[in-house]
């Protein structure tokens, strides 16, 4: 299979779907870039280059550079979704949700329910998330727990180029509002990605590794750290299962509970802040539904309850890493009641 970057995988997904379905449009700030300027058009293709080339292929009616007015254009995407388009809006950094959250959680997410099942809202919101780029407190947050909390939204966090493409295609074809979160530090990672279009269903976890001793559950970039940790642990004779749920809403509870029951020891890795976070969420599901099989406390490895710091040494300490994950697994292994 051809090797492609995470960025290219996403770009291909957009090309496929826009080519296939004339109701798919993309919109966002500098989604093309250069509009109204003297130089190159499609100069950026989005701040992270994901939408590069779409302008040339599909023209400015379907590839729309917007004013810096997230409420207006995210809300316009919601309004377009219930009237016949399949918009894919981009907010560069998920941290900007604060200026447009109403249109996401009170409007798009609730139409179908409030309207008694009559609305169909095929709305996709793409955004980058995550720390590690020295971008400080307002450009580094994870925030997926907030979206996961909201009924009516689906939330996707791909960890590999393959998943990125398949999940984005599913998001665009899906008939519900989808928040699609891309970790900035994964854009340049490379993996096998088929040339054709394929959709990965939501709510199906990917079990990357099976081991009898402990289960590690992780999302997005943290999946890679979890796998690093298993390498360290394997050398010590500890054999781990690694589960990447891929979507936090819907969540593949079955797979999570199954592997938790198999190993009886669970570590959940979450780069979001800990309070009411994803690690807490999954832990509580296990504590309620797989209690009898547990051999040790359910451990969470998360960011601390602090904003994201700027200084590189602090930011490195902020994020979970393989060492901390391995340490948590060791702790659950050593646990005796």
């Amino acid at each position: 299979m051809p090797q492609k970057s995470f960025r290219q995988a996403l770009n291909e997904a957009l090309h496929h779907e826009m080519g296939r379905d004339p109701t798919v449009i993309v919109l966002g700030e500098d989604i093309a870039g250069g509009a109204g300027a003297s130089g190159q058009q499609d100069a950026w293709g989005g701040a992270f280059g994901v939408t590069k080339g779409l302008l040339g292929a599909f023209g400015p009616l379907r590839v729309r550079d917007t004013p810096i007015s997230e409420s207006a254009f995210v809300g316009a995407a919601a309004g377009a979704a219930v009237t016949g388009l399949r918009p894919v809006a981009e907010i560069m950094f998920v941290d900007f949700l604060g200026v447009c959250f109403d249109q996401i959680f009170n409007q798009a997410a609730k139409f179908r329910y409030m309207f008694g099942g009559k609305a169909v809202t095929p709305f996709v919101l793409r955004a980058t998330y995550g720390a590690g780029t020295r971008s400080a407190s307002q450009h580094s947050q994870a925030l997926y727990p907030i979206f996961t909390h909201v009924p009516g939204l689906k939330v996707v966090i791909p960890s590999s180029p393959y998943d990125a493409k398949g999940l984005l295609i599913q998001a665009i074809r899906d008939n519900d509002p989808v928040i699609f979160l891309e970790n900035k530090l994964l854009y340049d990672t490379v993996g096998e990605v088929p040339d054709g279009a394929y959709a990965i269903p939501f709510g199906e976890a990917n079990v990357l590794r099976e081991g009898g001793d402990a289960t590690i559950i992780a999302f997005g970039r943290m999946v890679h750290f979890a796998q690093e940790a298993t390498a360290i642990l394997a050398a010590e004779g500890i054999d781990c299962t690694v589960v990447d749920p891929r979507t936090t809403s819907p969540l593949d509870e079955d797979t999570i509970l199954e592997t938790a029951e198999e190993t009886g020891r669970v570590v959940i890795v979450d780069e979001a802040n800990p309070r009411c976070g994803m690690a807490a969420d999954i832990s509580s599901i296990i504590a309620e539904n797989a209690f009898g099989a547990l051999k040790a406390p359910i451990m969470k490895v998360t960011a601390p309850h602090t904003p994201v710091p700027y200084a590189p040494n602090l930011e490195a300490a902020y994020l979970p890493d393989a060492k901390r994950i391995a340490e948590a697994v060791r702790k659950t292994m050593a646990y005796r009641k």
Partner: protein, 325 residues
């Protein structure tokens, strides 16, 4: 075509709509007072000429986005009055199967994108509907009704700029009833509303919202402009608000005299009757007949709503998603 040139049928339809809204709202008010309606409502009485004057220019595939004070817009855009009443009573036969209530009445099949509990929630949505028309090459337009209070919500300002730079076929119908809740708009709205459009190079008009014909004609021009692909218009429509902000509002921030004068001097129904009478377009008896019909419709809607079943309990968890997982 100006309002005065409308056919006899169209004039009767306009009057029927306005009258339906008035009777609907007066009746909801009465039912609220008797405690039989579960939620809370914001009544549109007094503002009827705005919704109807605008919507008489629309076809079914055009879309409107509305507000917390949405009953009038719903009726004017063709929502089923029985379904609306049942919705307000929280019944399974409601237009949203009892899940939405007064503040979320919607019927997408009629181009009614929903009342909205969030002030300023509608403008971005209307831009979206207009974008759909633009992308698909249709000549549909979108109208967003919003209050004078909503003009200060950032979403409104953003949407107006977006509509103007994208030349979206959208109309911002600002219904200025002088108040946002208990606060007079003179206290919170700086400058002149139409100038906010003018500053963006957007077309605008200010009209007397008590006069159906004034609203109709200004809206006709705006809709035609939008259909021609020449972009958005802001209509500043001045209306009275007959009831308090919400049912149950003591409305103590307005004097009794002010309220009496408003009902006496600023009634779109009597104004309409006078104007069509003077122009000899419709007879008193035609209009009286409509009044009687409307009364019967509302009576039957209330009766049906009362008799209707509550939603089944399992509907609590349905319709959150199309498919989950």
């Amino acid at each position: 075509m100006t309002g005065m040139q409308l056919s006899r049928e169209k004039l009767l339809e306009a009057y029927r709509m306005m009258r339906t809204i008035r009777v609907f709202e007066d009746r909801v008010s009465a039912e609220m007072a008797s405690g039989d309606i579960p939620g809370n409502t914001h009544l549109y009485a007094g503002q009827e000429a705005s919704a109807v004057g605008v919507c008489m220019n629309l076809v079914q595939s055009d879309n409107i986005a509305s507000t917390h004070r949405g009953h009038g817009h719903c009726i004017a855009k063709g929502c089923d009055v029985h379904g609306m009443m049942a919705e307000i009573f929280g019944k399974d036969t409601g237009i949203c199967r009892g899940k939405g209530g007064s503040m979320h009445i919607a019927d997408l099949s009629k181009g009614m994108l929903g009342a909205n509990g969030i002030v300023g929630g509608g403008p971005p949505l209307a831009c979206g509907a207009a974008m759909t028309a633009q992308v698909l090459g249709r000549d549909d337009v979108a109208v967003v009704f919003s209050g004078d209070g909503a003009i200060n919500q950032g979403t409104t300002a953003e949407s107006m700029n977006l509509a103007q730079v994208w030349k979206l076929p959208v109309i911002f119908a600002v219904e200025d009833n002088g108040f946002g809740e208990a606060t007079a708009s003179s206290f919170v709205v700086a400058g002149e509303i139409v100038k906010r459009a003018d500053a963006l190079g957007m077309a605008f008009a200010k009209v007397d919202g008590v006069d159906f014909f004034a609203v109709h004609d200004a809206a006709a021009e705006a809709v035609a402009r939008a259909r021609r692909g020449e972009g958005p218009t802001l209509l500043h429509i001045e209306t009275p608000r007959y009831y308090g902000h919400f049912s149950g509002d003591p409305d103590n921030y307005r004097t009794a005299e002010e309220k009496a004068a408003m009902r006496r001097d600023r009634d779109c129904l009597t104004t309409f009757r006078r104007r069509v009478g003077e122009a000899k377009l419709l007879a008193e008896s035609d209009l009286d007949a409509v009044d009687a019909e409307v009364q019967a419709v509302i009576d039957s809607a209330v009766k049906a709503a009362r008799a209707a079943p509550q939603p089944p309990l399992d509907s609590l968890t349905t319709d959150v998603y199309v498919r989950y997982p």
